[in-house]
Amino acid sequence: MKPISSSRPVLLVLSLVALVSLPFWAPDEYKIHLATLIAAYWVLIGGLNLAVGYTGLLSIGHVGLFAIGAYAFAILAGTHDVHPYVALAAAGGIGGLCGLLLGLPSLRLPGFYFAMATMAFGMIVGELSLAFDGLTGGGAGISVPAFPAPFDKPATVFWLVLSLAAIVTVMTWNVARLMFGRSLVALRDSEVAAAAVGIPFYRTKLAVYSFSGVTAGVGGAVFASLQTYITPETFVFDLGMFFFICIIIGGRGSILGPLLGTIALTALPEVAAPLAKLGQFFYGIVLLLVVLLVPEGIGSVFHLFRKQPAKTKHVVKPELELLSTALRKGAAR
């Protein structure tokens, strides 16, 4: 799969420069905070993208893992005074473990069943965070510590979260362009072909889903720190839908698409106040329109502007000498 950047390195460099220098040119602190929030969402969504966009695992309840990461961080770093960096890593680990535990029974099931299982998981996490109020503060919620210096200012915490987002992006980009990424797309688009070339379904899905649990945990932790206070209300089903929609409208099988989708859907309600009021309703409409009209995602629209070779018929021209050599090179079984 051709990396998007290979055709436009200059654009990529410029974007990176703009991104890193954002605290300097942003109009106010609130905008920096918004950018940090987008980066925090992307930590989760970037990882979830591999599971949803590439593998087709419809984890609509992923917000549950996000909540687990958030609460883990809040409880460890806040209540138990664990060092925030350790708590952050722990949140990722716990998120990954819970993702694995959720995936073990659920990933053997067909699509709708799996989706419902994740939805139910999200609801359970909500329920348990209310129930175990000694730990989580129940309905009243729990306060979340900020990171220590030097990451206690808007600009520096932005860079911290941006770094985490960048790591997730690079990791997912690596997976996407190497053989593992192809196996994910095969699981999504043709399980029959995937089986025929030897791809193990369950093991592969578990690996990618656990990874998405780790990123959800880390994302949840930084999100919680940014919010400074979390309650079970923060992690409603609708938030999970939001993550999901960012990926779908961005386009499956792409990294840039969902990234742009995340930026757009987070920033849009800020820019257009009426949209903010409509909230989930707006997201639902967008999702429906995308699914019906542009199922490949809005990102695919960009492809239309690229030069498309004409769909002419090519005559298949075997080069038998070359084929013969290539086949004989194959290792004997």
Binding site: L178, A186, D189, V192, A207, F211, L327
Partner: protein, 275 residues
């Protein structure tokens, strides 16, 4: 009777039809394979042997069980009775993935491609079995993961050019026409470095010229030592390139032999070929 027990009995060879030889090292063999759906026997006690470096045709009228037999060999359906082996290794209970790792590759009647990926990416998929690096290695882009990727890419490119798709390596697979898609599936199977290539009606929908190209490619595959099973309706094509032919009717074998023997067999003519 338990399928496993069948392999262990030494005297089983005495019960085999004459055309299935006993000592067949590294051949893909099916012995008395039956597949029932309720009371219906889609495949009825069929034995056949696919030897390396041989093209074996499997023909018969619609509903004769050809594709079912292919699916049984690959593991997409479990057998009701009988056994399947590669050399002396019994694979009757092996999964599709395990058989793929053991050297069986196949194409489908309707090509199963990843339409959003390029032709090259699709072909590279066939190299899955030669990868050892897992998720973490891919995420961290370890040298081994990158090397495996590069090796498979090189092999896929060679084979794609070999089957004739040099011009369309970067096209999305969904944009190919029918013939190109068929050849792409064959290329993907070959990237897997199989010992056996099972083709499910590959000539379907191809022009005369394209069938000739297909014949050339399949011949080259055979010459490289791969055993090819050719399930087909185009009997001319089958008789021209196959070394041996098995004819099925209503799930059972009615004739096995060289193309000439089969083509001239009265029962085959009556049931399938016509006067």
């Amino acid at each position: 009777m338990n399928a496993r027990e069948n392999t262990l009995r030494k005297d089983v060879s005495a019960a085999l039809p004459a055309h299935v030889s006993k000592a067949a090292a590294a051949a893909l063999s099916a012995r008395d394979v039956t597949r029932s759906f309720g009371a219906v026997k889609a495949v009825d006690s069929v034995s056949l042997q696919l030897r390396p470096g041989e093209i074996h045709g499997l023909i018969g009228p619609n509903g004769s069980g050809k594709t079912t037999m292919l699916n049984l060999l690959c593991g997409f359906y479990p057998v009701t009775s009988g056994n399947i082996a590669i050399g002396s290794r019994d694979v009757t209970a092996a999964t599709v993935q395990q058989r793929s790792a053991a050297g069986i590759a196949r194409t489908f009647q309707k090509p199963r491609l990843l339409n959003s990926l390029s032709v090259l990416d699709n072909a590279m998929l066939g190299g899955w079995n030669s990868t050892r690096s897992g998720f973490l290695a891919a995420a961290l882009a370890t040298p081994r993961a990158r090397r495996e990727n590069a090796d498979i890419r090189a092999r896929a490119e060679e084979i794609l050019c070999g089957v004739g798709l040099r011009e369309v390596l970067d096209r999305p697979a969904g944009n190919l026409d029918h013939a190109e898609q068929r050849f792409l599936e064959i290329a993907r199977s070959l990237v897997a470095q199989p010992s056996f290539l099972l083709l499910d009606e590959p000539a379907g929908g191809l022009t005369e010229h394209e069938i000739a190209q297909l014949a050339a490619v399949v011949g080259t595959v055979r010459n490289a030592g791969i055993g090819v099973l050719l399930v087909e309706h185009h009997t001319d094509f089958v008789f021209k390139i196959c070394d041996r032919v098995t004819t099925l009717n209503l799930g059972a074998t009615i004739k096995h032999g060289t193309p000439d023997e089969v083509r001239n067999d009265p029962e085959v003519i009556a049931v399938y070929l016509g006067a």
